[in-house]
Symmetry: C3
């Protein structure tokens, strides 16, 4: 049985199959006679993440499957009464065919996968993993660079320069993506962040030890001209002890038309969304702005993932 | 693409088509092979309105469609993080085929319709509009007067006297209904309310300038004998600064068997529900009491609306 | 029309039909062409009980039906505005084919059944009834004793000793089960509880007057050796005025491997779940531990119940 708990488990052949499948999925939305008829997904969300939940639910339903959802599993009577996560999963996994779990506690999805009788999909566990976000990020990067037809080439991203921008310390999204890109060739990664929000040193060394070119700076202008893909993340106020420091950072870690002067014509701008002030609305109109397409890619990638999970089981 | 944002957009030919379609809908509940198979509705409710949500969901499902719902979109992680309504709609509209939105802010549905890639249905936006309530009100009035077979007659309501009763100041329901009735001929409208809760003067003049006979009074007894349709609304405590004034109003703006003495035998009593004390339970048993049939009409009217929206698209 | 409001209404022939139907249900999960296609269930939960809700929803969906759910019907706009339960049910029952109601107030389901136009299923009403829990408990007991093939024998449980353990005062589960067992022959019931949480005297006499052998004690060891089925319930802290008393009770009303020494090899251990400390995790590995299978039986029993409800109607 295939659980989807950590993006560290994804290997290139599996990713290639997934992304090939995903390409045909938009066309299959809502076609009758689908593969997941009679299968039931339970979305067990111990913290709210309406958009992620809806993306999973849409993926299941567009393939003909069914969904039973809870927005507030944390207020689950049984959890409140003191039931362990393991007992909850043991019971719920008897009433469905796949569980999508979101939990504030790192490692929750892994614990769930040890006792579940049906596949567990991790939809985010605290500061831990959010593997389907990582999948849709890689898929989007390949799609925007028009490389989805060349998945048979082992080093299809050789020579690509990706710049990660914003809060690189807390962003599990950024960490997963940085690691996954290694499977696609020799890439160069720039990390642009306020000093307090730098990429964890351990990850930086891990990447560089594995042949990834890395470079850190405070200033986007240092690396923009050479950048093929700019991955923007939100700098959150609550990460700063000093509100004044946040205000300074906020105004300088912001992408607008000015900040993009000197960028390549075919620069790809990504963002996991929601965005607040870190990308100006004027950027939305650029063909470079890939972030809404990126959000859209969640659906076909999750549809493909569900199909693969159930194919493996039958 | 057809959005349903304001009852001001409804024109007679469109209404006639909708109501003809609605008449056959109760019979089609739950018949397989329906027209919306494979279509997904998202109900995005930024404030609770369980009954309206359930009516839309039932309409979608009885036509073979699917629903992904959120009861607390206001606690949406992305909204809380500061995402704009526009960004939320951009993203969600990539994962579904129609969005039903309820929002505390007037104009929210119109804003949503500007960026959505799928039809937006307004299920109430603050003190603004609630167009499907207006539709089911007109449908009920026509049904109760046995006029649904005569939709080809332009002035089918000529000579009808409708009395609006209760809080006429804040009731968006009353405002929409008063405006819509004009499309059906020369009607006479009585407005019975406490002084503080009168119909807005602008609307009164608009109606009278458009050939509607209007009359205002504090006393139902002034107009009851001539009334064909009595539309009751709830007087809410929170509208009064002085609780004592509310208590006085509450006891006089109440329909019971006594208050109905002198009414026509075929008087139609409507109410958008929920009702609290403004209609005594003893009235429920009268054949005149149409308010539960009115609530029931929400389903076929919304089924018809959904079918028309998707017919327009294909 | 068949409402499911109280376990007191269940008679042996009806129970036999239900349990025969339930046996085939696990195999029918997710098979297409099911009997409830086009039927819509509304789950109206005025208090959270996610697991019960999900079990009902899974049952409906695996039979091809549809579900519209509310987790917070208590925060229902209409209930908050002061609408009666009766009005809510009148309206909602126009938009669906069956209502599953959970309510904190004893008698709520019975009240709902008086005005509903569709079958009402009681999913727990305060300290009142939770009839489908009673059904799955009896089903589990029969299944674990391998007696489901012998439902044609009137006294199939003759000579069985069942020991109820824990909080016997407040447990509606225990009360319903004790009463229902009488339909299956002459059973002997032991009641093991702290003094403050004894079975209500009235029920004890009712059982003994109806030919049930009964015995009360504070100590499991008094009755364990003769016990065929041990039904454990949770002792809740909030039932005690004195926290110290709770701590004493808690440690002695706990089942672990030690406490089970001297039990029959084929002892069946049941628990309605969630469990907290009253059964040690080490017990889970025993083949005697039936409580997760018991939870699993909720699905086929509720599937069978739904099928019988709709068969009766067509």
């Amino acid at each position: 049985m295939k659980h989807i708990v950590s993006s560290g488990e994804f290997e290139r052949p599996w990713l290639d199959r997934l992304f090939r499948l995903a390409q045909g999925m938009q066309a299959r939305r809502g076609k009758p006679g689908e593969v997941l008829i009679g299968k039931l997904m339970v979305t067990l969300f111990y913290e709210a993440s309406t958009r992620t939940r809806m993306s999973f639910e849409a993926a299941m339903r567009y393939l003909g499957g069914m969904v039973s959802s809870t927005e507030n599993a944390g207020q689950f009577s049984s959890a409140i009464k003191g039931e362990t996560l393991e007992d909850s999963i043991r019971v719920v996994s008897g009433d469905c065919d796949v569980i999508v779990i979101r939990h504030p506690m790192t490692g929750a999805a892994a614990r769930a996968s040890l006792v579940s009788r049906v596949p567990i999909i991790n939809a985010g566990d605290g500061v831990g993993e959010h593997p389907t976000q990582a999948l849709l990020d890689v898929y989007t990067l390949l799609a925007e660079r028009r490389l989805l037809d060349r998945l048979s080439e082992p080093n299809v991203l050789d020579g690509l320069t990706v710049t990660m921008f914003g809060d690189l310390k807390n962003g599990r999204t950024v960490h997963s993506l940085a690691r996954l890109l290694r499977s696609y060739g020799r890439v160069h990664l720039n990390f642009v962040s306020p000093h307090a929000l730098r990429l964890p040193g351990g990850l930086l060394h891990e990447l560089s030890d594995n042949g990834v070119g890395v470079f850190e700076t405070d200033h986007l202008s240092d690396v923009l001209a050479a950048t093929n893909v700019l991955y923007v993340t939100r700098v959150q106020k609550e990460r700063f002890d000093d509100p004044k420091e946040y205000e300074i950072v906020k105004s300088s870690y912001r992408i607008d038309l000015d900040a993009l002067r000197g960028a390549k014509d075919d620069l790809v701008i990504m963002h996991p969304l929601p965005r607040v002030d870190e990308i100006a609305p004027t950027v939305d109109a650029l063909s470079n702005a890939a972030y809404f397409r990126q959000a859209d890619n969640g659906l076909p990638v999750r549809m493909a993932l569900l199909q693969m999970i159930f194919q493996n089981r039958s």
